[in-house]
Subunit: 271 residues, 2 copies
């Protein structure tokens, strides 16, 4: 693994303070924004090439979980990181409030339904973690239920990992001030109005509670089979650089080459 | 519509002979392959920009149906045409033989399940048309059942169209000789072995029957609400150029701009 990525990878449960992670950090930066942008574009091409192998092998599965406060850049990350990738092998699933049908089932049901198949990359744009974030912050579940859910999430991710899924969980970590700036931009720029929802301002008032809920989730659900990455996300370019680097390393490990040839096809002639 | 595209758009049922369409034609070509390739890349960027509007508007739905003989380039088209597009708003669905669960239901069931939602582009990589192609060619259904299915397909597509879906159906039209060449390449190039299946040679023996079945499907299911495009596909570059041009025109019509601003947000300050 990239040496400077290591401190941001959390792969076992235990004490962790988000305040030890600077949302404005740029550990992978070359120190020049234009150069970083170019690397993001280069890595996107590299990802596309490796994904061809991954898809053709039809052997492993890759699940990317994206979580983060409002405006932390989940959509923007998907756009930048997967911009060169063949849509045949990638599926993005965006979760909103559960439908009545989904809410009638356990909190993992709809996420289990959507997991990647062999050779597939699936992006969870928000995820099963909302069941221990918004649902706890809003008081829909109590602390005891949240603990049970943490345990069930760890179990669920172990099932996926043991059955061939590489799980990469990214927490896009922005500062309170950066969120304010981004929300204000969505108001001030009329072309961004569609992204803005007055409800976002209500959510923002709960910033501290969300912050603590994320901290608890990271503490309880970081495992070797499903590690969290704390991605500093005040810089969009560096956020993209970090997420794409993490994925590139995963695909380099899983699919450095495509499937082997079949010796049985030698000499075959098509009529 | 692009003038030279018109003869390839079939939007009403009736007589049609595939032999009148040259699989090697290049009606949209600038006469230079490198220039055509560059235009495909340019259009892909244009599609990505318009898709941003389409996605943000969350109003219309777009369904692209891709059909064609083995090796006609369905996968390659998806890769080339959608290569710059944000995976959040595009979903590719590849159909194989129905599962037992799917086969227990009517032949449109699994396709209805997968239709695009508002603001979404869905690509059917093979589609409900397999139910009047392979199923007829292989003798699993008779001519009377095929007629009923043609009618039900027209009804189904009318439902989708009336409820806000723009339907674009592309038949990737290759010649018998081109298919032979491409199958042979998959055998001769070990890196392409994973794409080859000896079963493809059995299917190839049924070329004429598939040809006639496609002709019948085009005759029976071309409608104004769900037109077919006969895409000459012996040239991969021109095939990509034509499909991307058709989609560009659709998106230019549906989403030339993003959503309008919300005057109610004026002057709002984020705390």
């Amino acid at each position: 693994m990239h040496k400077r990525l290591k401190p941001y990878r959390i792969d076992r449960p235990g004490k962790l303070a988000l305040k030890d992670f600077d949302p404005a950090a740029k550990p992978l930066s070359a120190g020049d924004k234009a150069a970083d942008k170019e690397r993001v574009a280069d890595i996107a091409e590299g990802l596309a090439r490796l994904q061809d192998n991954f898809y053709a092998l039809r052997r492993d599965k890759l699940l990317l979980v994206l979580q983060g406060m409002d405006t932390s850049g989940k959509d923007g990350t998907i756009r930048a990181v997967f911009r060169a990738i063949d849509p045949l092998g990638v599926r993005a699933v965006s979760y909103r409030a559960p439908t009545a049908f989904e809410a009638d089932r356990d909190f993992l049901w709809r996420h289990h339904r959507d997991v990647p198949g062999k050779g597939e990359i699936v992006i969870f744009n928000r995820s099963h973690y909302e069941a221990v974030l918004i649902e706890y912050v809003r008081g829909w579940i109590d602390a005891a239920e949240r603990e049970r859910r943490f345990a069930r999430i760890v179990d669920f991710e172990r099932l996926l990992a043991e059955t061939g899924t590489t799980i990469v969980k990214c927490f896009l970590h922005i500062s309170n001030m950066e969120q304010r700036k981004r929300l204000q931009e969505r108001i001030d720029d009329p072309t961004k109005h569609w992204k803005f929802n007055p409800q976002d301002l209500e959510e923002r008032k709960l910033w501290r509670k969300y912050h603590d809920a994320y901290e608890a989730a990271l503490q309880k659900t970081a495992t070797t089979h499903a590690p969290w990455y704390i991605v500093p996300a005040d810089s969009k370019t560096h956020r993209n650089l970090m997420v794409s680097t993490i994925l590139l390393e995963a695909l380099q490990r899983l699919a450095p080459e495509g499937p082997p040839p079949n010796p049985g096809y030698k000499g075959l002639r098509v009529a």
